[in-house]
Point group: C2
Chain length 231, copies 2
């Protein structure tokens, strides 16, 4: 069943703007058809399309169920700002692979540029719909390397895949951890000083013998963490 | 050090065509500079640029080392022909994540179209260079679903991530396996008959609660297999 993001109004759900356009003009849906609505909360709202207006459509709610696609662990990705095309892929795949939040950070080897917020939100919505997550992933403005280091203190476990590391992940460290941070560099990587500072706060580890692109490293880390935490 | 694919001639290595263009015009390298040459075998050839000709350049070999980036397990990806843009990503990421070979297959839910071989080979070369693999991944013409099923008999272990499955991978099955096949569907997935036929030959498993795109499923499977087999 097709999924659309909307907002609640009384006992109805309203689908508007881009989502309305997609439902009406792209999917060509009609009154009486069934859809799932997401209200950016923990539930899936099974609905019937009740009425089309000029700029929105109104859904009546048939039943409500807890969304099964939401992650059950808090896995936050701290991503050093990469070249733009990597970030797109990183966001889409992190959502599929159960990240709860993505925080970009700047560092010695980044070129800071403002993120195109509206575009990112559309992209996040598309990925959430595809993998059946009812809640959008949190996404904040880019923070500094120093601020990122500070934030790492809030986690039970911080993992840092590092190309100059040889030790691989001992999966036992993941036991019963529910609040996990993953810190990933960009194409140019961390300076030695940054890597040293990170190692004070994080378990640095190798993802094998091959040099992975930053987006591949994110996916490998999330896949392994998901596997061991059943996220 | 930059890596280029070439061919051996006597005790020298010749870099030509696209690789020559890249070395000379894109990287603007000069005589006397050091490079790594790959001859599509198991070794890295550390070389010095000896001489530029009009259409090629000649390298002298300084030393030879076993390539560390090559996978040590035989992990073959059987990929149901997806929409073109997914295949690009699947190939690039599979190379980084240690697949030995990619075989595309057609099925009820595919639209068969000829693969653009030359473009694929360029793409394979780029990915191999990026992740420091000296040997190109094998890539064959698309085979039928039936032929794919037959080929699965050649493996110790066949894994089949399936969206209608609930059991997750028991990592013990990977113990000491060195000859592993992974079978992944496309956006439209397998028919019930195809899935049933596959289950006779493969361990079907869930990759979690979220519906992954086919390229994400490939990456998650390869990341997990690599982790447990140290590939």
């Amino acid at each position: 069943m097709k999924r659309f993001f909307g907002r609640k109004q009384g006992d109805k759900i309203i689908i508007e703007e881009g989502e309305f356009h997609h439902l009406k003009s792209v999917m060509r849906m009609r009154e009486g058809e069934k859809v799932i609505a997401s209200l950016n909360d923990d539930f899936d709202y099974y609905c019937t399309i009740e009425k089309f207006n000029k700029n929105d459509c109104i859904l009546s709610i048939d039943s409500v169920q807890k969304c099964v696609g939401l992650p059950n662990k808090n896995v936050v990705l701290f991503q050093m700002l990469p070249r733009k095309d990597y970030l797109d892929n990183i966001i889409a795949k992190s959502i599929e692979l159960g990240a709860s939040k993505i925080v970009t950070f700047s560092s010695h080897n980044t070129i800071s540029k403002p993120l195109k917020k509206e575009r990112l939100i559309n992209q996040i919505m598309t990925a959430c719909k595809q993998c059946e997550r009812s809640k959008l992933i949190d996404f904040e403005d880019t923070i500094s390397f120093e601020k990122m280091l500070e934030e790492l203190s809030n986690f039970d476990l911080v993992l840092f895949p590092y190309e100059n590391e040889t030790q691989v992940l001992d999966a036992k460290v993941l036991n019963e951890k529910t609040n996990i941070a993953i810190v990933v560099g960009n194409e140019t990587g961390f300076t030695q000083d940054e890597a040293n500072a990170l190692k004070q706060k994080a378990i640095s580890l190798s993802l094998g013998k091959r040099i992975l692109r930053c987006d591949t490293a994110v996916m490998a880390m999330l896949s392994i963490v998901n596997f061991f935490t059943n996220n």
